[in-house]
Symmetry: C2
Subunit: 512 residues, 2 copies
């Protein structure tokens, strides 16, 4: 069948979608979501090359008339052979082989590495539709992936994009997430780099939380870099704290995440390859994985966290990464600050003077940093945390952080006091005496996000006192910062409706 | 957030999709595939009503600028409150409850009827996205549905659309498909109607086969009718043979099928409700289900077909339909003709004079018709087929068919000889003597579809001799008809490349 291109002035993001008039679709015998081959009949360069496209159908016939084929801007801009009025040759196409491999996983069968490669390469080329990938992700959620499959998926996803090489020993730290205020990377990276190890930390922006490491770092310096700039920064400072999204690593992983997220699915079979792919793409060889456990995290019980840790270490070893895992507490925030600017400020304050605390941040950051120092041969087994505290206390980590900020184009002389907060602020005081028995992470996240996090850097919350602390009536217990007066009001409302994130109780259990 | 409508000159068919600029999406904290509430700030009629919309994101920012919200033609045409330049109030929305119920099915849990109702109603309203539904269908494919769930799904799908009432006793016949040339409905309906029973037969057009009942009937009369016309036809003739797609019955079923089809999924848990929904929507109370078994059908072995039959009868009884099932042979076509016009011609020839055969069509059609006659009290148990043959032989079925054709607006005097075939024809002759040991359905379907079926009514194939027949060198064995010379050539090529659908062998197994 010959059809004339009609450009549709819209980008779908699905570079393989085309639109047929319902009559032509009927004549071709293809339904919506099925595939056709398309070819520019005149173009020499594409003479022997058919493109596979996935069809949408214009049932009204008002946009794409019979004899036309609607091509979205994405394709027109990407390919000069597809212009308005160009005649295309069109014929029905069967689903690609990878479609059968998805069915195989849905039937509970194991996939070979060739089959996994085929799925990943068709996901990137667009030959698999979004609903095909939704079926794949659901299949993996139910039927799982074994070690060999996860290993193959990691390697396949990594090969789908750019891979960096910074030398033989590249270190990194990652967290499976779920605990608010977890700004430990802002402390760990300068400690490790100050010890002379290479740590090109790429991180995400917040997805469901009030702030990701990239959001907090962005308060101190730019975080989006092209590959060449990343190489320069790491060669200068053997470290960086950047946003991974600006690099062209592992597009396959991003494509899967774009479907997993609205489905609220994050199956282990895809989560482990996703983490390891990001690390392999940056040449990481030794990794410490922080696994927060408890309510609100991916691992409700320490046992589930431990099971995951063993599995993760095994897959990591299969792809050439030595991994150590740390199960960590997640019952309340790390430190007191939640929100991009507040977290950057808390981290910078600690780096400048480690006596400033807070203890929970010092302990967690130096514990994880110590594991990396031991893995890198900088400290004896069991002595890593001491060395990490020494580097932090000596001011060397602070000096390194200033250099990293400078290398990334920020102001190295920035002081914690300079960091802009609010400007709208609301303080909350205790109405009674008692001990804090619970700090509710979910309420903290809700208030911080309502106040404007993570898009507004200056918004966030401070939890003044945490679990176990003694409180007197009238003590300041909680602060909300917001860039917008109306958002501050909304955040306040949540505090009042929920009673706030802090629960008091008496310490005396029984009086006889 | 306030956004101005920018109309996007394209219909997606997903009436809940809107497009946001990536910056506004970031500000709202919503990703592609997630949901927002939208409301016309000025419209009084919608004052208290927020619509739920699913967002696409314009990452380029070229179509939908910051401060704009892209609305597709579907919504603009459907709702006058949404016009170009109108200001909408927009806020993030959580997934609907039904989203959680889909996750529940994916986790292998049983759904309550309230939960199933919620999924179906959100599928129809568009609050569940295509990838949500793909996840649901995959979940059902893997984890199944039990009897209570299938019953609830049937009732829920039926309630999603119009339901007809033609009186207390409405009969029908349905096939699970997979055998070529299965034009039995064109014989059964007039037999049943001639016996005085009501049989409003709604059927599908071909999906993957060369011809559906609706395609074949359309050669004799129009098949697409609005509800009022359907009621008139059935009140006049107590029968019809129409295309179900033109009615507004069970939109929920169609929405699921639109996702199942490109995924090549047809799980029992959705198939049974789908069949029963179509029947309930037409008020059917007594049903004969034809279940072809064997290669190329949905049930590879008779055992699987039988298992399905028991399950089907049970769910049917739960929703108030008395069902009888017949396992039937599917190893070769029913009759000799495959393709809309050829099948209409073969059926009409038989109705006019039952001595014209073919036997396989007479036997299968009267067998199934007999079951219905027995269920309707028109014949004693075991005597139904005799009565069906009698009605067929007496010419009463032919008279009834002419009246149905007339009621549907066709020419009742149409003769089998008048039906247009081809005009391009190719005949194939046997190159040797022997007995036919195999007739390959898959090759027949491929040739018929390549020749132009089902869109070209006049295209198709005739299988002159079938399994068991004795053939001499030079005998005519196969004919291809096509509306297009080039399609005929392509169909011929398939015949030659495959050796055709007919396999010969000697009858003598062993000579000692």
């Amino acid at each position: 069948m010959k059809l004339k291109i009609k450009t549709i002035n819209f980008e779908t993001g699905n570079t393989k979608d085309v639109v047929l008039n319902f009559k032509d679709a009927l004549e071709l015998g293809q339904k919506a979501g099925e595939r056709i081959y398309i070819k520019n009949v005149k173009s020499r360069t594409l003479e022997d090359k058919y493109w596979v496209a996935i069809i949408q159908i214009d049932y009204s016939g008002t946009i794409v008339k019979q004899g036309e084929i609607g091509i979205f801007l994405d394709i027109v801009q990407e390919n000069k052979a597809f212009k308005d009025e160009t005649t295309l040759s069109v014929k029905p196409a069967d689903p690609p082989d990878s479609f059968r491999f998805i069915q195989k996983k849905i039937k509970g069968q194991k996939l070979t590495s060739e089959e996994i490669n085929s799925i990943i390469s068709d996901a990137v080329s667009g030959s698999l539709s979004r609903i095909d990938l939704a079926a794949f992700i659901t299949g993996v959620s139910i039927n799982g992936m074994d070690n060999e499959e996860m290993t193959a998926l990691t390697l396949s996803e990594t090969r789908s994009g750019e891979i960096f090489y910074f030398g033989m020993d590249v270190f990194d730290k990652h967290s499976t997430g779920g605990v608010p205020g977890n700004k430990v990377s802002l402390i760990i990276v300068p400690i490790i780099a100050a010890a002379g190890l290479t740590i090109p930390k790429s991180s995400t922006r917040a997805i469901t939380s009030p702030s990701g490491t990239a959001d907090s770092m962005e308060v101190l310096a730019p975080v989006a870099f092209a590959p060449e700039e990343l190489k320069r920064i790491v060669s200068e400072e053997n470290a960086c704290i950047i946003w991974g999204g600006a690099l062209e690593t592992a597009p396959a992983d991003n494509i899967l995440i774009e479907i997993e997220r609205p489905l609220h699915m994050d199956p282990i079979g895809l989560m482990i390859p996703s983490i390891l792919t990001k690390k392999l793409s940056l040449g990481v060889k030794k990794l410490v994985l922080d696994i927060p456990v408890g309510e609100g995290t991916k691992f409700i019980t320490p046992d589930k966290g431990k099971q995951f840790a063993y599995l993760f270490k095994e897959i990591a070893a299969n792809v050439g990464i030595e991994a150590e895992c740390a199960l960590t507490l997640a019952h309340q925030p790390i430190g007191h600050a939640v929100g991009p600017a507040l977290e950057a400020k808390e981290a910078l304050t600690l780096l400048r003077d480690s006596s400033a605390g807070p203890n929970s941040l010092i302990e967690k950051a130096t514990d994880l940093a110590g594991m990396l120092l031991e893995m890198g041969g900088k400290a004896q087994k069991g002595m890593g945390q001491n060395l990490a505290k020494e580097i932090l206390g000596s001011g060397k980590a602070y000096e390194k952080m200033k250099k990293i900020i400078e290398a990334q184009g920020g102001n190295p002389e920035i002081k914690p006091e300079d960091i802009e907060l609010g400007p709208y602020v609301k303080e909350f005081f205790s109405s009674k005496d008692g001990y804090i028995v619970e700090v509710n992470n979910a309420i903290i996240n809700r208030i911080a996000k309502t106040a404007g996090c993570p898009n507004s850097k200056s918004s966030g919350v401070t939890i003044i006192k945490k679990q176990g602390a003694k409180i007197k009536e009238g003590d300041l217990v909680f602060k909300i910062y917001s860039h917008s007066e109306s958002k501050l009001r909304k955040a306040e409302k949540i505090y009042n409706a929920t009673g706030g994130p802090i629960r008091l109780g008496g310490m005396v259990i029984e009086r006889v």
